[in-house]
């Protein structure tokens, strides 16, 4: 193998995305498709600069972030509480579990039309939908985690007559953190996806709304800026959470 071929082979993971953008630019430059429909990468960059300089982007980002954080935090808190309660009190389970499973079957976005009629199109709508998307995976993971605490741990605690507070902080919490973190990570991904969908569907602000108005104005460059940004945010959220997760597991 020549040295060039070897170099290409060992750097394929870097060359491939660059080649993709190059191909994109080449096809756009060749004008095979109308340039309004197949926009060149340079247009996407200038559209990014445009929405950034006009301050529009910051407003949309702030709106999305605010709804994501509020919805995720409330959904996660409720999910944690619900999961623990159901795991600890078996009687409660027989009352609530079937209902929980039934509601879980329905995609979060399907609740949007109901909510629009009940509360209208507003911030609360997005927070509830994001909260719903977060609640179920977190509740499920928490329930499984608490149920999955090895019996031996609790028996040892009983033999040593540890106080309940110690049992909670030294046994229950450490034993449940890894699976609960996985549930939170899953919930965060779902929350972001459903927030974008809700913003596309009914919203006055947010990245999804920016894309939707880009669609209505036939600004494919703006829409593509939106696609790239929601992907980057999705990636960052997931990567950030998995870093956090590794930290916790190592500490354990």
């Amino acid at each position: 193998m020549s040295s060039i071929a070897r170099y290409v082979r060992s750097h394929l993971q870097l060359i491939s995305p660059l080649a993709f953008v190059g191909l994109w630019a080449a096809v756009a430059a060749a004008q095979i498709f109308p340039s309004q429909v197949f926009v060149p990468p340079s247009d996407v960059l200038s559209a990014l600069r445009e929405v950034h300089d006009s301050g529009e982007l910051r407003l949309h980002l702030a709106s999305s972030a605010q709804h994501l954080v509020t919805g995720f935090a409330s959904g996660a808190a409720l999910g944690l509480a619900f999961g623990v309660l159901l795991a600890v009190i078996p009687a409660l389970r027989s009352y609530l579990w079937p209902m929980f499973n039934a509601v879980r079957q329905v995609p979060s976005i399907a609740f949007i039309p109901i909510l629009i009629l009940l509360i209208g199109i507003n911030d609360l709508l997005k927070i509830i939908v994001v909260g719903k998307a977060t609640f179920f995976p977190v509740a499920l993971a928490t329930f499984d985690a608490v149920k999955g605490i090895p019996r031996g741990y609790l028996e040892v605690a009983r033999i040593y007559q540890l106080p309940p507070a110690t049992v909670l902080t030294r046994i229950m919490v450490p034993a449940t953190i890894p699976p609960v973190m996985t549930g939170l990570r899953l919930g965060l991904g779902k929350a972001w996806g459903v927030l974008v969908a809700a913003e596309l569907f009914a919203s006055e602000a947010g990245l999804g709304q920016m894309m939707e108005s880009g669609r209505q104005l036939f600004r494919i460059d703006v829409v593509m800026v939106g696609v790239i940004l929601i992907g980057l945010i999705g990636f960052t959220l997931d990567r950030g959470f998995s870093t956090l997760q590794r930290r916790f597991v190592r500490w354990q």
């Binding site: 491939s16 209902m99 079957q105 995609p107 976005i109 974008v196 596309l200 992907g231 980057l232 999705g234």
Partner: protein, 255 residues
């Protein structure tokens, strides 16, 4: 006495839903604007009769199921192809992985505005979105399944002097089947959500999402609720059917 305890045990799952329905009914009686949002339970059953008799429910349900199944089928085939290529060839893996990983974190419905501009807001766009939704988990699981099988079984293949094609079809692929089946099950869930999401966003053409969106604009809460229930039940039914099919297909593993 024992029989009574048993009966009350059996009834437990129904207490909460019944209470919720009662609360709903009370709220519907507060005043006219409450009555508009919390439609009286009686009206929901009238609404059910209405969309059952007119065939609306059935027609839209069928359209949604069709979009999901066609999208799932195409997405699965494409996903198997791409996942297999990535799983077998390191070079293809190095080329495709960066692009696949850049595309993956974008929420599927986030592609709707782009796809709508490129393919119009019709059935084709819906199908493209559903295919994208189904494609991802199949690629991922096919790839992981093939990679996991690599070391253990490859040596057996070497012993039998299998060529690359034989190795793939009679050793690697069968060992990846359980993972692939899991991927297809995930794909089904994603495809169903994507179908409903697209129908809500596009509103053109038949589908439960579209029916729901029209009902929302007409202020028909009864029909929306019936749609939500149908969406949940249909999703559950499809999942059960595919799981059953998967168990049957995988029976040879336990024999």
């Amino acid at each position: 006495m024992a029989a009574m305890t048993k009966a009350s045990h059996w009834l437990r799952p129904f207490y909460v839903p019944v209470l919720l329905v009662l609360a709903w009914d009370v709220l519907s009686r507060v005043n006219d604007s409450f009555r508009y949002a919390f439609v009286p339970v009686r009206e929901i059953s009238t609404g059910l009769q209405e969309i059952l008799i007119s065939g609306q429910l059935f027609e839209n349900l069928l359209a949604s199921l069709q979009t999901t199944c066609v999208g799932l089928a195409i997405g699965t085939v494409l996903g198997l192809l791409v996942g297999s290529i990535m799983g077998v060839s390191r070079i293809a893996d190095d080329i495709i992985s960066p692009l696949f990983n850049a595309w993956r974190p974008v929420p599927t419905l986030g592609f709707v505005p782009l796809i709508a501009l490129w393919f119009g807001s019709g059935d084709l766009s819906k199908l493209v979105i559903v295919v994208l939704a189904a494609f991802e988990p199949v690629v991922l699981n096919t790839y992981e399944g093939l990679r996991a099988s690599d070391d253990k079984y490859r040596e057996v293949g070497d012993v039998f002097r299998l060529n690359r094609r034989q190795l793939f079809f009679s050793v690697q692929l069968p060992s990846a089947v359980p993972m692939i089946v899991t991927g297809v099950l995930h794909a089904l869930g994603f495809a169903w959500i994507a179908t409903i999401g697209c129908e809500l966003l596009f509103t053109v053409g038949p589908g439960l999402g579209g029916l729901m969106e029209h009902a929302q604009m007409a202020g028909r809460m009864d029909i929306i609720i019936l749609c939500v229930v149908s969406i949940g039940l249909a999703g559950l039914a499809m999942n059960t059917a595919v799981e059953w099919l998967a168990r049957r297909l995988l029976r040879w593993r336990h024999a």
